[in-house]
């Protein structure tokens, strides 16, 4: 199944989803597609002003362009996701979308889609980390 991860660039969540037999939907994948597409030239992320207009599907014209541009990348991933793993209170080193408003919108959009999802808190010690991995494992193994 296709599992969207939040933060969408978390390597740890990506690895866990893949390890338990699912396809992670991540920022890395979406950006990779854009970067290898030789027809798009808008470095560094290859997000073009046209993409930003496509972001209007997820947020109105009065929403700042940076949010619409991000949603143009992640929105289609959430659209095709069968499930989601969401990490709360993660420090930015763990992975982040850079913009708090986008983060709020991404979480809202996952809820709106009513797909199976799990929300875990960022662990502060080894014990909590083990518990977090066990919870995610149980969730992912339970997906059919």
């Amino acid at each position: 199944m296709k599992v969207f991860i939040v933060p969408p660039n978390s390597l740890i969540l990506f690895d866990l989803v893949e390890r338990y037999g699912h396809e992670p939907l991540s920022l890395m994948g979406a950006i990779h597609e854009r970067i290898v597409n030789p027809e798009v030239e808008s470095p560094p992320m290859n997000v073009t002003p046209e993409d930003v207009k496509k972001g209007l599907k997820y947020a109105g014209i009065e929403v700042p362009s940076g949010i619409r541009g991000r949603l143009a990348v992640w929105g289609p991933l959430i659209d095709q996701a069968d499930a989601a793993v969401i990490m709360d209170d993660a420090p930015f080193e763990f992975g982040c979308v850079g913009c708090h408003r986008t983060d709020e919108m991404v979480r809202y959009y996952i809820k709106k889609r009513k797909i199976p999802s799990i929300v875990v808190r960022y662990p502060t010690n080894e014990e909590e980390a083990k518990l977090m991995v066990a919870k995610i494992k149980e969730f992912l193994e339970g997906l059919k």
């Binding site: 992320m45 362009s65 949010i67 930015f92 850079g98 913009c99």
Partner: protein, 410 residues
């Protein structure tokens, strides 16, 4: 190559990063992105004192701290974030203040949309480069020799002839075909000065048509209007030393520039709509059937409070004007309200992006509309200084600065 440090949020996801880089490259500069270590970000945010929720804004702060502490080498700073983002707008403005308090680097702020193109950024980038590259030239306080300055503005073209720090000829008229208009203005200014074109030792050009005119007339100085107008303004106002704020409400856009010893260190440029520019006053004068040169005196006799007008959009502004005339308001009150509305827009849109320093010098063609000067005075809290020949700032600045090329050869 001039290094402009980019402190920004959202440019890469708005599809405008390449436009920013293109604008910098066009003016011979390079955008650089100060390296910071992840562990230093929270410390920098602590030092700055404002902890935003968005991580990219934290990074923006850390980069600013790295540059101001000399940990990263840059010649100028460009602070930018998405238009309409409240959190970023707060950080953008406070960060600009922080940078100015902690360094002497020139800084410009800009809020972009996905429609931002390199052309819109060009003059701002060019000004940053000029401030860094031509520091000595900008420090020039006296004009020497026989030089000419041309200012090719969106509404009018101005020319000025100067000899040994004195104005000896000047002319202005409406802008049409840029080169022909510049030549005519120059020739008429030369005729007033009683000198021939081949006697000129240098010509400087600024304004929208500067590149085309510069090439056609083989000008010695081709420079953007932000630095040239600042120089012309402080020279005309005899305020070359110390701090000042220059307000130039133009036909197409407005400029608000803070200067220290005649050299700009922060500026904003733009105008959301013609309603915030001299163009709206032209439309007002036409509607009131008065000459634009009489509008200011008429406005000074009126009371802006008697008419409700907000020219955020020129179309709505004209609608308010028509409605107020229809309901029997006096022409003078309507003229005063139009002037006040433009001044208010400049205050809301531009003066919020700089810290107003005193004195305030108002220049450009619109500074001849006394009612607008009164209105600007009302919103900034002091009546601006309007120097003599205030509409010639660009031409005066170009003539003054172009003489800088002579001394080296003398």
């Amino acid at each position: 190559m001039i290094k402009i440090a980019q402190l920004s949020c959202g440019t890469e996801y708005s599809g405008v990063q390449s436009e920013i880089e293109m604008a910098a490259t066009t003016v011979g500069a390079k955008m650089v992105y100060p390296d910071v270590e992840a562990k230093d970000i929270e410390d920098a945010v602590d030092k700055f004192g404002f902890n935003p929720t968005s991580a990219q804004l934290k990074l923006m702060i850390a980069r600013a701290v790295a540059v101001t502490e000399g940990k990263y080498d840059a010649d100028a700073i460009f602070i930018s974030s998405c238009f309409r983002c409240a959190e970023a707008a707060l950080i953008r403005n406070e960060l600009r203040r922080y940078v100015q308090e902690h360094s002497r680097l020139p800084v410009v702020t800009y809020s972009f949309t996905e429609r931002t193109k390199s052309g819109q950024l060009l003059t701002r980038m060019e000004a940053l480069v000029t401030i860094v590259e031509r520091k000595e030239l900008l420090a020039r306080e006296r004009q020497v020799g026989l030089t000419a300055g041309i200012d090719s503005g969106s509404s009018t073209t101005k020319a000025m002839i100067m000899r040994d720090n004195h104005i000896i000829g000047k002319f202005w008229h409406k802008t049409g075909e840029v080169v022909a208009c510049a030549e005519e203005a120059l020739d008429k200014a030369l005729a007033e000065a009683g000198v021939k074109r081949n006697q000129l030792e240098a010509i400087g050009v600024t304004g929208y048509g500067r590149f085309t005119i510069g090439k056609a007339l083989k000008c010695d100085l081709i420079q953007e209007e932000l630095t040239v107008n600042s120089k012309g303004a402080v020279w005309l106002a005899d305020r070359q030393k110390g701090e000042a704020t220059i307000i130039d409400i133009g036909g197409m856009d407005n400029k608000a520039i803070t200067v220290r010893d005649g050299i700009p260190d922060n500026f904003t440029m733009g105008g959301i709509c013609a309603g915030a520019s001299g163009r709206f006053l032209e439309m007002t004068a036409n509607r009131l059937k008065v000459d634009i040169t009489d509008l200011g005196a008429l406005a000074d006799q009126g009371d802006w409070k008697k008419v409700e007008m907000n020219s955020y959009c020129s179309i709505f502004g004209i609608q308010s004007l028509v409605t107020s005339l229809a309901s029997g308001h006096a022409l003078a009150d309507v003229a005063a309200a139009a002037c006040h509305s433009v001044a208010e827009q400049v205050y809301e849109q531009q003066l919020q992006e700089i810290d107003v320093r005193h004195p305030v010098i108002q220049v450009g063609g619109t500074s001849l509309i006394s009612g607008l000067v009164t209105a600007v005075g009302n919103v900034v809290g002091e009546r601006p200084i309007v120097p003599p020949n205030s509409q010639y700032i660009g031409a005066a600045g170009a003539a003054l600065l172009s003489s800088g090329f002579l001394e080296g050869h003398r």
